[in-house]
Symmetry: C2
Subunit: 365 residues, 2 copies
């Protein structure tokens, strides 16, 4: 084990690589291209594990993240964000080196891209399949047609198809509901594909949030999936039924700095600057910021029943612990926190350590 | 103005320096030493402005932050966190270079410090004045006495007094309630001082959260105050009555990447990786993640009435905007977000730009 003296984000390579392999196999089984979203891990080294599993294309959220993964050998990158036309110079530079896909969601964006693009890129139109965040509504064929017409035959903008992120699966109350939402999304996308297929015979349909990609078995008409979180999984995904607890690949190791037996609490060095601020409600409706585990030679234990992070400030965390645990711990011990939201914990920590002691670099903040 | 193409944290030097000067003057008026908490800005350059205003001692949350400010010329540093004994090596190194104050909140911590400290440090006992987070309860004279006895006459551990963070002022529903809580805290600390003054005639009493330090005029018996957030202020502080909107010194400039007139919304490149995830409720009880302002030659405008950040994901933000604003903005425009929680926004962004175009370095992540 590592010599841990301050909050340290641990990763089980075996769990992580299993998560990658399982999603690769699922994509293969359904004839889908897996274009994983790398916003969760933001690590070139974790990216290498995807390469080893046969993945050749990735999804990112920003030009900056595209630059990072381009530097680390990725040549097929989708920037899954309504393109920020102010970053046109960065896009031109990067597009001259690697194959980029961007989102063109409006005529205004098309007009500026046609003026300023110097290198060909491929583009998706992002489709709002019910999440209500960004993209054109799935049934708004007229608007999609107008965007495509605004592009015309511009040699720098090549239409690739439709991309969708069904983020509303995160509001589901059960795994069954995730699947129901996912079914509806697939149906919307199938109709959309049908409509535009005649004119664009090669168009691709991309979808995929981690809950759908983990739980659904219906990808009828879908060509690409781009889940991200599954690489680590977390308690939010677990609450949706997307993963088992033993599939969570990261754990935040934290020092105990005070024990308060009189209130069955301990103070840890781990605040929102380490974990992120995401919370969940337990079965009694109380908010918590993570389950507590024991670290061991093989990584970490199952969650200690009844043990939770109940308060978070900038650098302090407060654990509620059962009496027998309170009696057995002392200042200077290390416990583990199973994260509520892996993307947030990874971003906040900015570096990850494997159980074997390898430091996994992440994209600089 | 700067050439802004992606989320950029702007700082008004004049507002920030005014905030510093006002708190310095308030401390002087009450005969207090201001030992500001630097966890909000984490910037050596902003630290310099405190030096220019006459401040000579600072408060931080971690050994790492102490190291950063020691490197930038600070020689009197309080690490305001239950001391993490696993970081004893870092403490020994740093204590050989600068004057450190640490927290000793338990006998377990004393025992280990007595074994392992190689250089003298001063220490506070942290007092829980009602926040229920860390420290010894203010009325638990017995426990305080036992900790002091466990230290004994150890030449490496010199008792300096009591430190308290009345974080429960953040639960107040009005400025009056902040003052009431603060009054009670001051009274508790006065009794504590009275009790231990005989044995320790030089003991100091430290308190201070930004709401109390901004609103209260009663610091009877207090020696030091250590607020942090006031350097920037934010919407949380404003909701407590601690500052006026025009005293907020930072603003997150964000590009518009999509406009959705049909739902009076726009999408910005600004998610929780930029702003942090803190929210407030507006007068109708709806959650929001910041007010929206126009940028101008002098910085930024008052909040646009009715304009708010209503959703946040990792890199996307969704603005709700009044019809006339929706009509006047377009993709590629820049708007400003007045932050809910300045500490979070500063930490997430990791760098700050003055309106004059100076980049203010922050502690590396």
């Amino acid at each position: 084990m590592l010599d841990i003296i301050r909050p340290t984000l641990l990763l089980s390579q075996s769990i992580c690589k299993d998560n990658i392999r399982k999603m690769v196999r699922k994509a293969e089984r359904h004839g889908l291209q897996l274009i994983p979203h790398f916003k969760t891990h933001q690590s070139a080294r974790v990216g290498d594990w995807f390469k080893e599993a046969g993945v050749t294309a990735v999804t990112v959220t920003s030009v900056k993240m595209a630059e990072y993964f381009a530097e680390h050998g990725w040549n097929d990158i989708t920037i899954a964000f309504p393109f920020n036309i102010l970053e046109i110079d960065g896009l031109n530079t990067l597009a001259s080196r690697v194959n980029l896909r961007i989102f063109v969601n409006s005529i205004e964006t098309t007009v500026i891209l046609k003026q300023k693009l110097k290198t060909p890129v491929r583009f998706y139109i992002e489709i709002d399949v019910g999440d209500g965040r960004s993209g054109v509504e799935a049934t708004n064929f007229g608007q999609i047609k107008r965007i495509l017409e605004s592009v015309g035959n511009n040699p720098h903008l090549n239409f690739d198809g439709f991309y969708s992120h069904p983020g509303h699966t995160y509001n589901a109350k059960s795994p069954g509901e995730v699947e129901e939402i996912s079914e509806k999304v697939v149906e919307k996308l199938r109709i959309l594909k049908q409509h535009f297929k005649e004119e664009f015979s090669d168009l691709k349909i991309g979808m995929g949030d981690t809950p759908s990609c983990s739980l659904s078995e219906n990808f009828d008409g879908v060509d690409n999936i781009h889940p991200g979180n599954f690489v680590f999984y977390d308690l939010v995904q677990h609450s949706l039924g997307a993963n088992r607890l033993e599939e969570i690949a990261i754990c935040l190791a934290v020092p105990i700095v005070a024990v308060h037996p009189e209130r069955s609490e301990a103070i840890i060095h781990s605040g929102w600057v380490h974990q992120g601020k995401d919370s969940l409600r337990d079965s009694e409706g109380n908010i918590h910021y993570g389950f507590v585990v024991q670290l061991n030679q093989n990584g970490w234990s199952e969650p200690i029943p009844g043990a939770k992070v109940i308060k978070l400030s900038q650098e302090h965390g407060v654990l509620s612990l059962p009496g027998e645990v309170i009696q057995s711990i002392k200042v200077g011990d290390i416990l583990g926190i199973m994260p509520v939201h892996a993307c947030a914990t990874a971003v906040m920590m900015g570096e990850i350590w494997t159980l074997e002691g390898e430091r996994l670099e992440m994209m600089p903040g």
